[in-house]
Symmetry: C2
């Protein structure tokens, strides 16, 4: 059990951080062993484990689900609504506090960013009633502009706030330092987001980042002023989990997962 003041009480392990090492069962057991009380779950890991077994493991270990991480919503073509609804059902079934919505981007043949952004707004409008009915917020994740070409064309917190203004209840926002740390409007847009912030994700931006994918750093190893951004997020009223999401092909996916979690806890204490 975490004593009061133990940083582990607010820390969450995002499964992406130990994707190469741990199944969902191993992640739940590992988090529990290290004194964490929450993790974020990915659909492929949940499918492998099964929803019934996942619910049992989460309950047995008293583990909260900080978020359920969906990628690839609303790709060009717009034909996966049944899949999306089933994903929301899965998220609700494991008690996820929010669904991380990484929306799609432009059709590479049409090259029309404005059309893609309209399509995404329409897609969110269609999906929101189901998310509202389930009581699970659909949390928009502004994704770094370097992934606008292949993953997501909501690239700033301002865009996410604008979508929340336009679409109303049931939407929220994911703030991941990796994606937003560079934004000159960050402080203002975090204050504007306020209670919309459903999960706050931590990692670091390595000065020698070389690859667009899976090259994130451990907190403290990069150039982000994490205590400053954490203060801004806290000042916006955030009281949820600090979710550590480090996709790292070169370092952290190569290490023993228990060492990774130990390092996350230590760095959360010393660098955030």
């Amino acid at each position: 059990m975490s004593p009061s003041g133990d940083p582990r009480a607010r820390l969450s392990l995002n499964q992406a951080t130990t994707r190469k090492q741990w199944t969902l069962r191993e992640a739940i057991e590992g988090c529990s062993r290290h004194g964490l009380r929450a993790l974020s779950v990915w659909p492929d890991k949940l499918a492998e484990c099964g929803i019934g077994e996942a619910r049992r493991l989460l309950a047995d270990h008293g583990m909260a689900v900080a978020s359920f991480c969906l990628g690839g919503l609303f790709p060009a073509g717009h034909d996966r609504f049944d899949d999306h609804r089933r994903m929301l059902d899965s998220a609700a079934a494991i008690g996820a506090r929010c669904i991380v919505a990484v929306v799609g981007t432009l059709d590479p043949a049409a090259k029309d960013l404005a059309a893609a952004r309209r399509r995404i707004e329409d897609g969110l409008r269609s999906l929101l009633p189901h998310a509202r009915a389930l009581g699970v917020p659909l949390a928009l994740e502004p994704i770094h502009p370097m992934r606008a070409g292949d993953l997501c064309c909501v690239n700033t917190l301002a865009q996410a706030n604008d979508l929340c203004d336009a679409l109303g209840d049931g939407l929220g926002i994911v703030v991941d330092v990796h994606h937003v740390w560079w934004d000159p409007g960050l402080e203002r847009e975090l204050a504007r987001a306020g209670g919309r912030i459903r999960v706050f994700q931590l990692c670091d931006w390595l000065r020698d980042t070389a690859a667009l994918r899976d090259d994130r750093g451990m907190m403290g190893d990069g150039v982000i002023d994490l205590p400053l951004i954490r203060r801004w997020v806290d000042a916006a009223g955030y009281d949820g989990f600090y979710d550590v999401e480090i996709m790292s092909e070169r370092t952290w996916w190569q290490r023993d997962a228990d060492e990774v979690v130990d390092t996350c806890i230590e760095r959360f204490r010393t660098a955030c």
Copy 2:
């Protein structure tokens, strides 16, 4: 000679596109051979050639210098002002239409983006009188947010416009599609930039871009709606060169430079 209506009359080869293949002499001769009337010059290539020889070659071939491309201005430490002034002198000496200013970014130890942005504004304010005296505009290049950690923390056209508003005459802006194509405020900020646009740079964003450096695509091979952005730039009143800047480790730096230039001309005609 370019007949009227020949797209080569407005096309410029940025030396970065043939960095691995051509010296400055070879680039000037190569551009001339392919019917181009302008190129953009890099300091290392100019130093290797020598200013006197470069002036002679440019004059002999009737070649304009669309821009002189400086990186690494105002690094943390702020102590290279004499170097910067000498670079401006070199740009003026070869008749460059503008100096591309890629300003620096944060000190990785201090991790203070706001301080870095203030330092850069101060640095520009100090350097501007010399640029004004030489009559060569110092053109700010908003650099893709993925390089905020190691290269430049002016990452949007809005920031560049704000700096121009604050610092006045003598500043301009470089618009490089690679850096700004994703920006939801692009159309508005291009209109706001208007006559500040000193050079407009072309390439493409490959959907499978993997590396943060030197992984650009040839016009037409990626996802950018180049005709649309070109229309916005033209509508802002731009009448300068279309400067092709493609740093491409995997493809274009591996090809024969004459083939590269032929492809640039063809794609400018068909994809822009």
